[in-house]
Symmetry: D2
Subunit: 393 residues, 4 copies
């Protein structure tokens, strides 16, 4: 271990994502001992000094900062991890790129396509390693789904459908803005479920099934006004509470996406299903260790959907964990992303999704919101997506 190269991490933001990322850095060397690089928890930054110190103590960060600009200015930081609300991503990322830091940025890349484009430009100019935390790709069952489709087992794809259903904002008493509920504030978040939840679905979808070319969407805001935590005022709600869109993929398949925070009974139900000529596949986040698979080539009388418990050593990432039958959890997707980022430093290959890939996802989000606003179809402008190929692997 003495020979491992260190990547000194500077984490900005100590909320939910600050915890998942910190856990990723803490755990990666325990389970991926073969990696050449190891992360070092050098510094963590947040505005409240007391809180950030407690966070540093809990996770073992060596130092703290209360101003992100100070963090970026430090020479002993190799990589900046951005876990702050969406409205700060662009400014921090551009500054970090200019300072020559590697960047690991939470999703969505930005509030708008314009912001995201500026970030990509900054990255391109700086030539620094970068990745965006679309973590769900790295749940083993999801990665396996990607491999199965890429292998050609499904044949021609006809349908891709995904949804992300939650129910935590049904009460009109949930406020908008401020810590914990900034996702409800359009200024901080940029959009509602589209950027928060559908962005995940779009990233997975284009990775597995290629570019989404045009979309037709509808959005709804069920609760029209909510109290703002920072102002104390009841204000109009600017975000989309729910969003549905159908679309075409470049490969000719039809897509269907839905997200809402008003689906009573679903806490974080991200699901997708892909129907191909020869086989189909489906997955849901509530039972994340399982993948369902239907193969029409199976003998007719014993043909059915297979419930695959993705915990065997020959399935993605699972050689790193326990023994067959013993599942892992949500947090592991972040550990896997850290491992893949460190591996990308060894190989020099990009760590997908990088900023450019996240920009493509942002294009779809923007087209979706424009389509809903104009009640018309919109082209996305996406032409290709890293990691997807029409030809079977």
């Amino acid at each position: 271990m003495a020979t491992k190269k260190e990547i000194r991490i500077g984490l900005i933001g100590t909320g939910f994502m600050g915890r998942t990322h910190s856990n990723g850095y803490s755990q990666v060397s325990h389970f991926f001992p073969e990696l050449e690089y190891k992360p070092v928890l050098k510094a963590v930054c947040s505005r409240n000094a007391q809180k950030v110190q407690a966070f540093a103590d809990q996770w073992g960060y060596e130092s703290i900062e209360t101003d992100w600009r100070a963090l970026i200015a430090r020479d002993d930081i190799d990589a900046v991890d951005i876990c702050t609300p969406n409205d700060t991503h662009a400014e921090i990322a551009i500054a970090a790129a200019e300072a020559g830091k590697m960047i690991l940025c939470e999703k969505p890349l930005a509030r708008t396509l314009a912001e995201a484009q500026q970030m990509v430009d900054a990255i391109d100019k700086a030539g620094v390693a970068n990745t965006v935390w679309y973590n769900y790709r790295r749940i083993p069952a999801v990665t396996l789904a990607k491999q199965i489709v890429a292998s050609g087992k499904l044949g021609r794809i006809f349908h891709y459908r995904a949804n992300f259903l939650q129910d935590w904002t049904i009460s009109a008493d949930v406020p908008q803005g401020g810590a914990g509920t900034w996702r409800m504030d359009v200024e901080a978040a940029g959009s509602g479920v589209t950027g928060d939840l559908l962005a995940h679905c779009i990233d997975t979808a284009m990775w597995i099934n290629g570019a989404i070319t045009d979309v037709s969407a509808v959005t709804e805001t069920f609760v029209k006004e909510r109290m703002h935590q920072l102002t104390g005022q009841v204000q109009p709600v600017g975000i989309d509470d729910a969003c549905i869109f159908h679309c075409h993929f470049d490969n000719g398949s039809l897509g269907l996406f839905e997200s809402t925070r008003y689906a009573r009974g679903h806490k974080a139900l991200y699901t997708f299903e892909i129907n191909g000529e020869n086989a189909s596949i489906r997955w849901d986040l509530h039972d994340l260790n399982r993948l369902e698979y239907f193969d029409h080539a199976d003998e007719g009388i014993v043909r059915g959907w297979r419930s695959i418990h993705v915990t065997d050593g020959d399935q993605p990432y699972m050689d790193k964990w326990w023994v067959p039958g013993l599942g892992i959890g949500y947090e592991h997707s972040f550990i896997h992303q850290v491992a893949d980022f460190l591996k990308s430093l060894e190989t020099g290959e990009p760590c997908s999704p990088n900023f450019q890939d996240a920009l493509e996802t942002q294009k779809v989000c923007e087209a979706v919101l424009e389509s809903a606003a104009s009640r018309s179809w919109k082209e996305t402008g996406v032409e290709e997506f890293a990691g997807y190929s029409k030809e079977p692997a």
Copy 2:
């Protein structure tokens, strides 16, 4: 039993639906002995004399006809049951109405809204009892879903989503037209999955959740040409292989509907889910005796989706069958519809869905197809739907 009043049935069409309806007539008196009326299998009609005689022998019809006009002309027929392909519904129904017969018509009511309107006009003029076989309403779990929503248990409805997924036409070798595959021929069927499958979903949806006011749709025809069974020629395929639409309901909820015959692994997977402020509900046809229900009022630590096995005597229709735990099947929905039709003759109330109700469903189908063709939102013109009320029962 000697005192039961007889309804003499004349069945036209001996295909799949001819069998399900015949079974309904055969079984209803065994399980609904309290009804005042009983069906008598007086005559069955189909063009092939040999085949129709075999059908009559199998099901116990007293006589046969090979010309539906002859059947309608008979004095000993009280009710005409139309089980023929969609392109014949209008002509037969209008003639039967003019002859003063009760009419039980397979769904969809017609190929087009214009045809359907003529049928409703004829019925209105004739004043005869009528119903349309949207049978899925009468699966006990579906009827229970309707009762639960009507009771107000869900509170304000946010989302209604349904799909109907099949996979039987994926092979390019499946022909169009003729017996068995007339549903693939746009001339005979009027449309593809929209009239065949989504019409069921729309009927259930409006019955449970009220009028659909506007729609935005996309359709796709994956296999562009197929051999026509009657001509032997390879011809363009005129039907929609797949259709997706989102919509608004009059009560403010968002709707999402999808149907396809290209969803590998799904034979006849009709599903719906309804999300309300306080509770949610979902169902699928492949496990038709189950209804899933989530009630947010349950104590938090033991709250979850309930899998209700709808086989108890206090659940809809189930006092007629066996004992708790012992399920029924698809065919029972038709027996229930016969029972409800006979009951409607006792009470003088319409037997929903009647021709007028099916016309409302036709309006939505037509708007869906127009929306897909024009890539724009369309108003449906539906204002209300029989059996639905915004106020809890």
Copy 3:
């Protein structure tokens, strides 16, 4: 149809089983038109003249009797169907055999092994066609399970486990004895869950997996006294409320069986699972159209339990019903048994399980009860079972 040979049925008993059997006779010709024989509902017998007349009217029996001896004495009855409580099976069956009638007897064959042996002796002497209504074999998914095991797909069998869980007698207010609750009265029933429920599990198990050779059992009576409906007195409960046993099969596999009427939440949950060297299989009655199947030969990364929706035309009995995806129900197992009985009259082969087969099941039940009473292992004396072969088909 004029050419079909008639089998004139005399049904004794108009309870739950009287209904399921009557439905079987009513429906068989509608769905199995190729059979040479057809049942005719000639007479039904029960002690209450008014009730039996109502039953006859409902089901279309031509005549009634109130004394079963009178029914058996009639020349116009070909087959006697025994649906009465267990304590009457032996006397009726022996008299019917002596009268030269075919016999279809409800399960269990008798209250005790001694009674059952007398019945088999009478049948053997009379040489009449006979069958016992262990109907669950003829649920398509169960028949498919039998075929899969017989084909050798599972390889060497290690484990067979089954249970039958109900919850309807938990309340101490449920009485014993009399109509509706004679199954609670040891005099009428012979035993509790062992004869009522485990007998089903044992019949299926030996049919699929061969003879059970020795057993070790425990029984429990949770509610020690209940009011008797006929006497009005609170009396000791003589039946087993619950029974568990493990056993050896002749093929070297281990068996595990459990039944109870005190499993809150389970209405009629009959389940079994079979683990073989190469594959496993499982089924449950609450979702009777599904069979689960695991094949270790599947490619590792996509290996999992398959949920087979047994509704395709190439699966047992399903060519007789609807189209793929559309399920059938509990009652269909009885229709299938009627069809198989009629078919056996064509072929001259026994209709399994016949009285001799049911006697083997009775041997296991008796050994189970003796084992529980003596707290020791008991040999069953079963050496082989009709329909089972160790060699793959």
Copy 4:
């Protein structure tokens, strides 16, 4: 964090359990920051110096030992964690107790009851803190099950059944003995599935449902000879490949337990179900974040098994992790056990299950094996079990 008291851990054994425990120590302070104590990874011990150094590097242990006696002799070790094969537990534990070390011992406590009793005696004499890693108790859904039963929601308990099904030893090519397969060697393991798997089931069962008083068991060894890895010789297999037993609990309920390594299709399927007068509960390890619950008090028409996704902050341990809907994995049960052990040092209460509790489980295991060997019922001698009370909490 500077104020936390340190517990210096000396870990013996670097196999599968060495990893799960090390992860527990690494993670506990990240997620349970309120604890007064923190573990320090002081030393790890295994016979192979190279391998143990690699393990130390990977997990961050400060030092290594290759002789467990040396480890125990060190003054800078507060607690000894025993992760070695079963045949070494007694010797190490007794020596550690004599050295005044706290002890955390893998399960089963020992190979035999006699060994286990010696260990308890040593602990009692030494008066050191101790716990045994029956980790499954601390999966949140299992802990919730315990709470639900303890609250009295189920009422009188009628049935408790559990099984633990695996399939990894079906091939006759799997060897016995040596690293990785010492569980197949009766000398090293003491028994097969009884000590390895059923011991877990018994621990959970007695914790939730109280003492098991008598048992009747059967065991089987399907593959009679296997090559021994250390000798290279084909030797008789001394372990039980499968074990089934039924039993009585002190509270009058019936128990049923089964374990096998020959259940094709099941990797590590630990399941249990408890049926009470008013409610029932069930759980399985393959979907460990879910608990199923049936409450008979629910309104009849919407009554059904609830699938509880145990990921909310008011459910056991889950306030420590992420947000509702996001599951955790197998490894978390060990983190929870470390947390509870550290907490017990604060409170001075025993950390269940401790050696005494594990001795009670050992009594049941021994009775099970004796019952199987003698084909007779055996008393267990267990009178009570820590944490269980017949009275609702």
